[in-house]
């Protein structure tokens, strides 16, 4: 099975990953995450006292602010804020600091495809850097379905535009975590469960399931990378 990628990658090959922590001095936690030429900076402030309106004060509240590279926030940014907020809520232990708000600010530095997954990875690393109590880490990836039916991973912007459909997928990563009752859920390992799924374009259900499979396999590698970058912090906990 042959597929030509503009940058000569194999279908399953990710772009070079880079992650640096504590890049911002004033933030309580920060990280930058790079996949090829896509780069996102995330900063965490808080927890601050009190929750916002319409939030449950019995739990910790997470607020996400998405800053585009240029221009003003529109509907796309609002949607990404909501997806990011709900994704981060699902990995944080919200009962530990009730009636507090933690702000996560995401700044897009450069968008060369797979922007939302890159931002989720950056935000997750920033939360670890800030010492926010987490159930487990989240690893995000973009799977693309080419016109020919091939699945390719971590597309660049150019590839994204040529694709028939794509899926942003977020999986949990439980390797380091305090998990009661092990990481098996109903016969399937926890890492197989989807935290977040966002798709664009039409594909068959089978194609989606193939994307899931390939995404899962790739996130194992990314998890290893994430843990290596965060190692000093994770072992402290």
């Amino acid at each position: 099975m042959e597929i030509d990628r503009v940058d000569g990658r194999t279908p399953n090959q990710l772009r070079p990953l880079a992650c640096s922590r504590s890049v911002l001095n004033r933030a309580h936690g920060s990280a930058s995450w790079t996949q090829g030429d896509t780069k996102v900076l995330a900063a965490v402030y808080g927890p601050k006292a009190g929750t916002k309106k319409n939030e449950n004060p019995e739990k910790a509240c997470i607020e996400v602010i998405w800053k585009p590279k240029t221009g003003q926030s529109g509907k796309l940014e609002r949607e990404y804020e909501m997806i990011l907020k709900r994704t981060l809520q699902s990995i944080c232990i919200l009962t530990l600091n009730p009636n507090t708000t933690t702000s996560v600010i995401v700044q897009v530095v450069n968008d060369d495809g797979a922007l939302l997954p890159c931002a989720i990875n950056a935000a997750c690393a920033a939360l670890v850097d800030a010492g926010t109590p987490l159930k487990h880490l989240a690893v995000a990836i973009c799977c693309c379905l080419a016109e020919s039916g091939y699945v390719i991973l971590d597309p660049s912007k150019l590839e994204e535009q040529k694709m028939k459909a794509f899926a942003y997928l977020v999986f949990p990563n439980s390797l380091t975590i305090l998990q009661e009752g092990g990481s098996q859920v109903g016969g399937e390992p926890m890492e197989h469960g989807i935290i977040t799924s966002v798709t664009q374009g039409a594909m068959s259900v089978d194609d989606y399931l193939r994307c899931l499979e390939r995404g899962r396999a790739a996130t194992a590698k990314m998890s290893a990378f994430l843990q290596k970058s965060l190692q000093p912090l994770l072992s402290d906990d």
Binding site: G74, L76, E160, Q161, Q200
Partner: protein
């Protein structure tokens, strides 16, 4: 991935620009013209009321006068904002919004030498003056009176008399929703 969202190009409605002139509606003789929907001058449009239109509101209603359709929801009472000064009385916050495809404004108005009640939009745009009267029929009290244009005292009294009849019927409808599709 955002596709061709971008800036929306400028657009215009293809509706005919040749506006009907006033004389086209009213005819040459000011006294003798027909309303475009065939109603008499003192006749209201078919009205329809329904309470409980919005399930999640504490109280709500839907009202229809011909093609003018309005939904009202009521929420609360809620605790006032902490920044507000303490007060012994409550406050009523009103918010009115139009859909982008709505027909705006209604009232009661006077056209030519005749009194017309419950005008449609087309009639409203040619009015010489309007008078809007709000009252509480059960207490026989006027709560609001808005007049624009020039009105003589006898004309105002004429409106009062027509409106009295009108209010009684509306009041009946509101409390007897079985007669929901009644025509005035």
């Amino acid at each position: 991935m955002a596709g061709k969202g971008g800036a929306t190009p400028s657009t215009y409605a293809p509706s005919p620009t040749t506006q009907k002139t006033k004389s086209l509606i009213f005819g040459n003789d000011d006294v003798d013209w027909v309303r475009s929907d065939g109603r008499e001058f003192h006749q209201c449009r078919p009205a329809f009321f329904k309470t409980g239109a919005v399930n999640c509101a504490s109280g709500s209603a839907y009202a229809e006068f011909g093609n003018t359709k309005v939904i009202v929801s009521l929420f609360g009472p809620r605790e006032s904002k902490k920044a507000m000064m303490y007060s012994d009385i409550g406050r009523l916050n009103c918010d009115v919004s139009y859909t982008t495809f709505a027909t705006p404004v209604r009232g009661q108005s006077c056209l030519g030498k005749n009194l017309v009640i419950d005008p449609i939009l087309e009639e409203e745009s040619y009015q010489d003056g309007s008078l809007m009267l709000t009252c509480m029929p059960s207490r026989y009290e006027v709560t609001q009176l808005t007049i624009t244009g020039e009105w003589s005292t006898p004309k105002v009294n004429e409106v009062r008399q027509i409106a009295d009849l009108f209010f009684v019927v509306l009041y009946q409808m509101l409390f007897d929703q079985r007669t929901s599709d009644r025509y005035f």
